[in-house]
């Protein structure tokens, strides 16, 4: 029997039972659509996150205190770890320790609210080197200048504020030269930023930036830093710089060769790798859930095909008496189950594309994410491939049952 005719026969027999065929493939459609959606969303999410990480700069390396977190509980440890001392910063600054390092600033994070006259606002308060931060995040004061090395050395009570902070505390008033209060201490505004918008890690509009010495000593009252941000001479030098940083800090902290690092470094490449690990783990997990749904769908297909084989016992007997071989009958029923599930595959691809597009549309327009609609070609191939294979795998048993029927018993069947 030729392929074209087999296909025609299969389609016409599926058409005679439209509702049943549709219900049978529903399980497959749900499974494959879910897979396509997961693939598309996975790709979109990875793109989104990688895009944001890309904004950090390929030459930036962040050093954090404590052990490298491998779970949420470790994250908390990082917040309380105090292994990054001011003298570590001095050591890292020395050229012969870390030759590839071109910029460095410690970061101090302070929680508290700021007030001016009767207005109060709860900003994000950082201590750092304003010039490096400005360079790294591409920030330029709208008025005034960044505080400088002298302000840092002299532990000056000066501050740079973001546009939102300025709006909340000063309204239309010019903030330059005015004093705001944080934790009962006065800080003079020397510059402010224009509106910037959310970035990956924080929003500069809601920020008050102080010299890191001022923030550490006058506000936080601690003898360590929360983070150290460094920049390498080039992205290619990052790996070498990380090695140097690790060696310097291990030496500084007098760690023996068997001790684990009491700090860890985060680079763009490291984050990219992490994100990819997480998304692929998620994809594998979700895919296995979907695989189960496909097995359930496949069993449904097998069940209906068995019913169909029994219903058409006489037809099988007749076809055999007219010269059909076992192989012909086997192929006829296999074609039928594969056409059934392949149709499901096509429906799934269309549904999957529509749903992925809808997801992208909603996330871009209502969640303000820079979400790229992506519909991988692999999803189309996967959808058709998986659906057809389900038809093949779960169609074999019923088709064999059909092929093995004895012609006379089949012809006698009522």
């Amino acid at each position: 029997m030729n392929i074209r005719y087999s296909f025609k026969t299969a389609i016409s027999s599926l058409k005679t039972n439209k509702v049943r065929s549709f219900l049978t493939i529903l399980g497959i459609v749900i499974g494959v659509t879910a897979t396509i959606l997961i693939m598309s969303i996975g790709e979109g999410a990875e793109g989104l996150i990688l895009n944001q990480i890309g904004g950090m700069g390929a030459d930036i390396v962040v050093i954090r205190p404590g052990k490298e977190p491998s779970g949420p509980s470790d994250m908390a440890d990082t917040l309380f770890a105090d292994s990054l001392k001011p003298r570590d910063v001095e050591a890292l600054k020395r050229k012969n320790n870390v030759p590839d390092l071109v910029d460095i600033t410690p970061i101090v994070i302070v929680s508290g609210s700021a007030s001016y006259k009767r207005e109060t606002y709860r900003p994000t308060i950082f201590g750092s080197d304003a010039e490096f931060m400005g360079k790294m995040m591409n920030l330029h004061p709208e008025e005034g200048a960044f505080f400088d090395e002298d302000d840092i050395k002299s532990i000056a009570n000066v501050a740079l504020i973001g546009s939102k902070v300025r709006e909340e505390l000063f309204g239309e008033e010019n903030p330059i030269g005015k004093n705001i209060k944080i934790k009962d201490k006065s800080f003079r505004i020397t510059s402010y930023l224009p509106a910037h918008g959310q970035t990956t890690f924080f929003n500069p509009d809601e920020m008050i930036l102080l010299p890191y010495t001022t923030a550490r000593l006058r506000l936080a009252g601690i003898n360590h830093y929360h983070e150290i941000v460094t920049r390498a001479s080039s992205p290619e030098a990052v790996d070498r710089m990380i090695q140097d940083i690790k060696m310097t800090l291990r030496e500084q902290h007098k760690l023996s060769p068997t001790d684990k690092d009491d700090f860890f470094v985060v680079s763009q490449q490291g984050l990219v790798d992490q994100v990819k690990t997480i998304t692929s783990a998620l994809t594998i997990f979700l895919s296995s859930v979907v695989a189960i749904s496909l097995i359930v769908g496949g069993i449904g297909v097998m069940n209906i095909m068995l019913v169909s084989v029994t219903e058409r016992t006489r037809e099988i007997g007749l076809r055999k008496s007219l010269g059909a071989t076992k192989k012909d009958i086997l192929l006829q029923f296999l074609f039928e189950s594969m056409s059934l599930t392949a149709t499901g595959g096509v429906i799934s691809i269309i549904l999957g594309a529509l749903l992925s597009y809808a997801t992208a549309f909603i996330l871009t327009n209502f969640a303000n994410l820079d979400w790229q609609f992506s519909f991988p070609v692999s999803a189309v191939a996967m959808g058709l491939g998986v659906a057809t294979s389900v038809g093949l795998i779960f169609g074999i048993y019923p088709a064999r049952q059909a092929a093995e029927k004895s012609p006379i018993e089949a012809l006698r069947y009522e």
Binding site: L318, G323, A324
Partner: protein, 240 residues
């Protein structure tokens, strides 16, 4: 060489301890071009015999040669090919596939043959014409009368121009008028086209259209005689 040759054919069905002898020591042969009726009451083994002759079933013991070769001389594919190209089957219950029209039903044997698809349509139309059913070519079986269904089934049986046609009670489900028409067609196939016919029936009147009648009783041949006064549906006054 006879087209059909059987010797001591035996078919036993066993169910548990009880054994049923559907056929015992059946020996006869049929020459090419013969029209033979196999008669007997129900349970006499005539359907079993037809199944064995049509290579749809295998005997328990004894010998059956179709064109000099037995069932076990062939592979499964060769058996299917013989059924397809050299044998035609007509059933009491027609066995047309529902939901496809007369033309498609007639074509069914061709899809298992080596005939190129471009010829299928013409062959099917010719076969349908020869049974006088051209006006029903687009009809589905449910829209046909019993006689028309059987004519469609005959068109299907002869589309591959088989050497031999097995007809299993072809008029059993028909009124006498349609039955006559079917017998006329079968006679024509034998006399004009030279097909060998094996007709199974329990009616003496129908059997007497054949040249020769083999009577079966309890699985044994009790007589095998030429028909002296043959009936002929073709010579009777008969209007389509």
């Amino acid at each position: 060489m006879p087209i059909i040759e059987t010797k001591n054919l035996k078919k036993v069905y066993s169910e548990g301890d009880t054994k049923t002898f559907a056929l015992q020591n059946t020996s006869f042969s049929v020459e090419d071009g013969e029209f033979v009726a196999v008669m007997g009451p129900s349970g006499s083994g005539k359907s079993t015999l037809l199944h064995i002759l049509g290579f749809l079933d295998e005997q328990t013991s004894g010998k059956y040669l179709f064109e000099g070769k037995s069932f076990s001389d062939h592979s499964e594919e060769e058996i299917a090919h013989i059924r397809n190209a050299e044998m035609g089957f007509i059933f009491q219950s027609f066995n047309l596939l529902p939901r496809i029209n007369v033309l498609e039903n007639t074509k069914l044997p061709l899809i298992y043959s080596n005939v190129p698809e471009s010829k299928w349509d013409n062959m099917a139309r010719e076969a349908i014409e020869s049974v006088g059913l051209t006006h029903r070519i687009d009809h589905e079986p449910s829209q046909l009368s019993g006689g028309e269904k059987q004519r469609a089934a005959i068109a299907r049986a002869l589309i591959n121009k088989p050497k031999i046609i097995f007809a299993d009670e072809p008029t059993g489900n028909l009124d006498s008028k349609s039955g006559k028409m079917i017998m006329e067609i079968i006679e024509k196939l034998n006399e004009d086209e030279g097909h060998t016919i094996i007709l199974i029936t329990h009616e003496t009147y129908t059997a007497e259209h054949a040249q020769r009648i083999i009577r079966l009783h309890d699985g044994e041949i009790i007589s095998d005689k030429k028909v002296r006064h043959r009936h002929s549906a073709r010579k009777e006054e008969f209007k389509k």
